[in-house]
């Protein structure tokens, strides 16, 4: 029987950039080049309709996607209702609806 110490060791949270697969990032940047322009201001998250009802941070999803941290992002992106308010407020002119649609598509293809 395993002895319980009252705590367990969790998986490391360190992002190892040497093992990240940036293939899907490069694919997305080819389809929707405006993705590159993001400067992480968070205006999209602030105005997001979905974010008012559920825990959803589109800016962070974008950041995680850029860093190759793709696990669970498809579930996150399912919360988006594609209302397009983020596109309206983005100061760098990112075309977010097609970006989100393409992210979803890329995340479900192998």
């Amino acid at each position: 029987m395993a002895i319980s110490f009252g705590f367990t060791i969790s998986q490391t949270r360190v992002v190892n950039m040497d093992n990240c697969d940036f293939g899907k990032l490069h694919q997305l940047e080819r389809i929707t080049p405006s993705f590159k322009k993001c400067m992480n201001c968070g205006a999209c998250t602030a105005t997001c309709s979905a974010q008012q009802f559920v825990s959803f941070n589109i800016r962070k999803v974008k950041s995680l996607y850029t860093m190759g941290q793709l696990g669970g992002l498809d579930k996150e992106l399912a919360k988006c209702m594609l209302c397009g308010k983020c596109t309206l407020v983005c100061p760098r002119g990112l075309n977010l609806r097609p970006i989100i649609m393409n992210m979803r598509k890329l995340l479900t293809t192998k």
Partner: protein, 336 residues
């Protein structure tokens, strides 16, 4: 003809000298090293327009060719004393010179990255300073520590700036855009490499700087990660492993990079420090203090002693040139 002494033949010294000479002042320009403009000569291209540094050097050197300007190289002025409306300058060997007014344009020196030991400058070959990279760009050849083309280049902002541990709480102001410029130049030489810039804030304060930053993302695929690299170590194959946090996703991060480029800040040059102390006009961090940052920004507490350029605070070349013109104007109106 009034005699003006200018200490330091950098962009500020030369610009002020040429304006004063054109207005019939007799200018003596003292330079500590053997040639003028050594700080610009270290550079390959200048932000934001990517003009070749050598071109600006040529234009500034041409301004020195005026009958009213006398350039004295290898002469270090260490003290100035003002008596009876005249300034007496003392060089290192105790020799003296006289002038009605003195303009100090002794400038800056780059932060010595050895002082940030945890980043491994001078210990690991893959860790280089922004000045070292500028030299590689000048020679159009960027290589890693084992003489191969780098696959990954990582820039780190704010080395020796905004850092209490270095004793410098101030922002050096020019490093942000310098990294953007260097990243773009590196991209031109290395189309395949991954290029990252680690930053705490990106301060794109000047005209067209923000546009250059945007262009670097859009056209040159430069990637920006918000976080400060806290330590670097070597890998067995001559690369550098760095640790940071990506503060935008809130997770620690590590990666191996061929080159870690430390964006070193600006500090007062040894000459600036010496004059600031000896003339009792030292301000914060041993830069030279002006009387007032708005209306009297070229005058010091000592009558007859003026200052321009990065001897008073970190400044870009463009700002330095306009500051020098302002100082020349102030000297002229005070001589009336």
């Amino acid at each position: 003809m009034k005699k003006i002494a200018i200490i330091g033949a950098g962009p500020a010294g030369i610009e002020a000298a040429s304006i004063l000479a054109a207005h019939n002042f007799e200018v003596t320009l003292f330079e500590k090293s053997s040639t003028p403009l050594s700080n610009i000569l270290d550079k390959a291209f200048l932000f934001p327009s990517s003009v070749a540094a050598a071109d600006l050097v040529d234009e500034l050197n041409a301004k020195l060719l005026h009958d009213n300007i006398q350039l004295i190289c290898e002469k270090e002025i260490v003290n100035i004393k003002e008596t009876n409306d005249e300034c007496k300058l003392f060089d290192k060997d105790g020799k003296t010179y006289f002038a009605s007014k003195v303009l100090i344009t002794t400038g800056y020196t780059i932060f010595d990255a050895h002082r940030k030991e945890e980043l491994g400058y001078g210990i690991y070959k893959g860790v280089i300073s922004s000045l070292d990279l500028e030299k590689m760009i000048r020679h159009k050849q960027i290589k890693n520590s084992i003489d191969e083309l780098p696959q990954r280049i990582t820039f780190l902002q704010c080395v020796g700036s905004r850092d209490e541990k270095s004793g410098n709480n101030y922002c050096s102001k020019i490093c942000c855009v310098t990294a953007v410029k260097q990243a773009i130049e590196a991209r031109k030489l290395l189309p395949q490499a991954e290029i990252y810039i680690f930053y705490m804030d990106l301060r794109m304060w000047g005209q067209t700087f923000e546009e250059l930053y945007r262009q670097s993302q859009e056209e040159y695929d430069i990637r920006y990660i918000r976080g400060r690299i806290s330590e670097a170590s070597a890998t067995f194959d001559g690369k550098v492993q760095i640790k940071s946090e990506d503060t935008l996703i809130g997770q620690p991060l590590k990666m191996t990079t061929d080159l870690l480029v430390l964006m070193c800040g600006m500090e007062p040059s040894p000459g600036t420090k010496t004059l600031a102390e000896n003339c009792q006009i030292a301000g914060d961090y041993h830069f030279i203090q002006t009387i007032d940052p708005h209306l009297h920004d070229n005058e010091t507490a000592q009558t007859g002693i003026y200052v321009a350029g990065s001897a008073k605070r970190p400044m870009s070349i463009r700002d330095t040139l306009s500051d020098a013109a302002a100082a020349a104007m102030q000297i002229m109106s005070d001589c009336q």
